[in-house]
Symmetry: C2
Subunit: 369 residues, 2 copies
């Protein structure tokens, strides 16, 4: 990679923003957004880049919260001094989606009326709503134009939505490993995850207590999801048919004990209601395909970079090409790259010199190219 | 298809056979095997074909149990008068695997010691053990040589195991949509299914009562499995992003309500313990790969037909080619066909003129070709 330097210690922040009218008509009040920033906003506020996270991500995209934190933010490989999103040049904003459980308004927020967490009484949140909350955050900095919005997977959907919700705000849009709408198979995997949560005896229609959360259901949802983020190749390489390490976990195979561990550790850091809300936002996001998609994307004015990954079977390159085709059909400026990788859908999160070069090259290109 | 004629009414039968020493050293006594036969055994007993079923299959491969049965056996398209496995020519035997729950010895059998169902105290059963029980059944007819053993998916593993367990019994072996061993990803999907059952509060270490079975866990396992049996293409075609029919089931999408229905109906016809036993048999089946596989297959004397399906991402064509490569490496007689289909792993179960022609052609070919 171009640089191994980290942005260093970063401070998690929370913005309490104005009311937000959601897609479904409900009013979210207040709109709370957890965020982090990296780099310095230029005096004329023209160097801001917004980073959007995927399903289980959060605002902590780069750097460390403390000296003792073991792992940096989820995209530290790409955000920092000298990196693709170069914090020596850009002011990078990363925020947590509403509907999530990492500090932004969501099912775990306290309902001011009842004084208790919303749980499943939190209103349905769409990708468009997530983006609208981010817009409030960006405005709170006095920023009128974003140099770029970038994200992978669900983050890519947000970036795409930005380009049409606020076409005059965006200069560039980077969409990695994403889709203009979920296929039946993508919905199906999410649905089984949701059903696993709903099947948990602690589910209680989403009104569970802290003392008895639907851990087992959420762990199952994560285990299954995790398979879809990897590739056959990667799993062969990493686990093959090896037996489990130790004999602590209830599986005959290494891949089984790994998934059980992933499920168990996920429930300590994620909320079951948020899992349902966010996967529903993913499944309901639909800009259509073909002419319908071309029409949906027609308001966009920015330049696009679309990246897909050869080993990604969950968000296959064909879905990225569908976006590219529709953008080209209405003469948008669009660059498309399919990267050859072995890591499946997770590829966009992992170190990749070529991905770094592609993002850097796109951002450094004169605007009219 | 060549013929739409069904074999008609067939009678489910049960054979109580001798003791069987299982792979793990336990003795199964008695060995009970549920089976059906179609066609007539020739006087010199040289026209018998054994059909092996997949994970959730049973002995009912063709015909109807009664006039009122709505759907015929699972491979009725291929077994019957004038069909690929032509019951005018062949005596077709189809049996239920041991470890299953469709009449053969398995976790639902009564343990003669306790007078109660074995449940999870039933011994571990391997693919080799399933085949050994089938051998006892075949012997009970006085059959010395089988014209063919054929099966898809887990049935293909059984057919492959037959070729090396009893090389002097087999003339032909047909292996469809199968593998010489599960990859990490195949194990992973089964593992999540097992974990779903183990997470069900009714699981009780496999010692559940009829009145409270781990239905929810088993339904989840089936829902997830079902996704892997289909293809992205087939799901787009069948469901796309359509809303559910009616509003009875807890999903926003047709594909979700379909999977919920599949899960619900599966628990009425399958046992959770058997699901665990049979998926473990699948995951533990391992003839190796490359030279190891070549060595494992070296005892085989029969002729092979190996068929894979272009849209099968669960048992991808590469796994079939691995078998073919190893058979060729030790100069076995092997024919390989990759059929172009859209239906995913389930392809081998569905009507396909080309598959019918390939099977028929293989069976009709003079033995030395």
């Amino acid at each position: 990679m171009g640089s191994n330097q980290s942005i260093g210690i970063v401070e998690p922040k929370t913005a309490v923003l104005g009311d937000l009218r959601l897609d479904n008509g409900s009013i979210l009040s207040p709109t709370v957004v957890a965020y982090e920033t990296y780099g310095t906003l230029s005096p004329n506020k023209d160097n801001a880049i917004l980073i959007c996270h995927a399903l289980s991500g959060d605002a902590h995209a780069a750097g460390f919260h403390s000296e003792s934190e073991k792992r940096p933010g989820w995209w530290d490989e790409y955000i920092g001094p000298g990196k693709a999103f170069d914090t020596n040049q850009y002011f990078v904003i990363s925020s947590n989606v509403i509907g999530g459980c990492k500090g932004s308004s969501g099912p775990m927020s306290i309902n001011p009326v009842s004084g208790k967490p919303y749980g499943s009484s939190f209103p349905f949140v769409s990708i468009k709503d997530m983006v609208a909350a981010q817009k409030l955050l960006v405005e709170s900095f006095g920023i009128q134009r974003l140099l770029c919005v970038a994200g992978g997977s669900m983050g890519g959907m947000q970036a795409l939505q930005w380009s049409i919700s606020y076409p005059d705000v965006l200069e560039n849009c980077i969409i990695l490993a994403s889709s203009a709408e979920h296929s039946a198979m993508q919905i199906a995997f999410n649905e089984v995850g949701r059903q696993a949560i709903l099947s948990d005896p602690n589910w209680n229609n989403g009104l569970y207590e802290d003392s008895a959360t639907p851990r087992k259901g959420l762990a199952l949802a994560r285990m299954m999801g995790h398979i879809t983020y990897l590739s056959d190749h990667k799993m062969r390489e990493k686990f093959g048919r090896k037996p489990p390490i130790g004999n602590l976990l209830n599986s005959d195979f290494a891949v089984g004990s790994y998934l059980i561990y992933q499920g168990e550790s996920f429930v300590d850091r994620f909320d079951a209601n948020s899992y349902i809300y966010v996967t529903k936002a993913l499944d309901h996001f639909s800009l259509g395909k073909g002419q319908e998609l071309t029409k949906a994307l027609s308001p966009a004015q920015c330049r696009f970079l679309v990246v897909s990954y050869s080993s990604d079977w969950l968000y296959p390159p064909s879905q990225s090409r569908e976006i590219v085709k529709s953008l080209e059909a209405s003469d948008k400026r669009v660059f498309y790259v399919e990267l050859t990788t072995n890591e499946g859908h997770d590829s966009f999160l992992l170190p990749n010199q070529r991905q770094e070069d592609v993002i850097r090259g796109f951002l450094n290109m004169p605007v009219n190219e």
